[in-house]
């Protein structure tokens, strides 16, 4: 089956992208598994240590994603081009303390654009705070990805919560992990400020 002919079930609607439900068909008929075999895609990620195969990805889907109430992993579907270009996730959802970890990957190189990442992040953050009522979202990135960290801080209101020194071995070096956090209040304050600024323009 051609990837463009797959049926995608939309979970959250956006303008440029929709967030869609991951299914066995998606694992089977898209390039998802192969994103983790690509050195460029995984340059700033804790991936590409061991090869990944379609059957390994299917196992991951069945064991880790399907019916897992502690994880929401959604595909980023580019509406115009009708392609699954990445994934966005809320991981380790802690229902007692109302927090989770957020992550994003844009696997298809052509779609590694600011507007795609921004909309996918915004949709999942809104879902986290306004639908499943999380209180806080955590994010982490390898220090080499500082531009992304800066974008998260400025665009959504994330704040620095510390550094794990030499936590990750990547590309021949031990690298720091930068931890960020975003509370519901911080996020809503940031959004409100921007609405007010737009009105005053």
């Amino acid at each position: 089956m051609d990837e463009n002919n797959l049926n995608y079930d939309i979970f959250i609607k956006g303008n440029l992208v929709d967030l869609v439900i991951i299914t066995e068909e998606i694992v089977e008929h898209t390039n998802w598994y192969n994103w983790f075999n690509d050195e460029e895609t995984t340059l700033h990620m804790q991936q590409h240590y061991y090869p990944n195969t379609k059957s390994m990805q299917m196992d991951f889907y069945k064991k880790i994603i399907k019916n897992n109430k502690e994880k929401i992993q959604l595909g980023i579907y580019h509406k115009k081009d009708k392609i699954l270009c990445g994934l966005v996730s809320l991981n380790k959802i802690d229902n007692l303390n109302r927090n989770a970890e957020i992550s994003l990957i844009i696997g298809e190189n052509k779609y590694r654009k600011l507007e795609v990442s921004h909309e996918a992040m915004k949709l999942i953050i809104n879902h986290a705070f306004n639908t499943i009522n999380l209180h806080k979202i955590n994010a982490g990135y390898i220090e080499t990805l500082e531009s992304w960290g800066l974008f998260l801080r400025r665009t959504f209101g994330f704040s620095n919560e510390g550094i794990q020194k030499e936590q990750v071995y990547k590309n021949g070096k031990y690298l720091n992990i930068v931890n960020l956090g975003l509370t519901k209040n911080q996020y809503h304050t940031m959004i409100k400020e921007n609405i007010n600024e737009e009105k005053s323009d």
Partner: protein
């Protein structure tokens, strides 16, 4: 003001072009597309460029402005679409700053 801001952006493009492969180098023209499917820069590249521009504005005009933030991202028409729209946006931010 527009001319000066355009110069500052071109200066930042010179810096960023040093790090880019030939095919990805940005042309110094007001029509150059920055964002969208025809833009050459990926998400990290565009944030990097905007940060260099912010730094150059501080160095040359002694003004501290934030270009890359949620306000810019949530505009209906992105100010980062082309160099021309970016110049207009920066000039607007600088005017706002001076009106404060």
């Amino acid at each position: 003001m527009k001319k000066k801001v355009t110069e500052i952006i071109y200066q930042a493009i010179n810096e960023i072009n040093e790090e880019l492969d030939q095919a990805l180098k940005l042309e110094k023209s007001t029509n150059t597309v920055l964002m969208g499917s025809n833009g050459k820069l990926d998400s990290l590249g565009i944030v990097h460029l905007l940060v260099i521009i912010e730094q150059n504005i501080e160095d040359e005009l002694d003004e501290i402005i934030t270009i890359a933030d949620e306000r810019a991202m949530s505009q209906k028409r992105s100010p980062f679409l082309t160099i021309e729209t970016l110049v207009d946006y920066i000039v607007m931010l600088l005017r706002e700053k001076n009106d404060e």
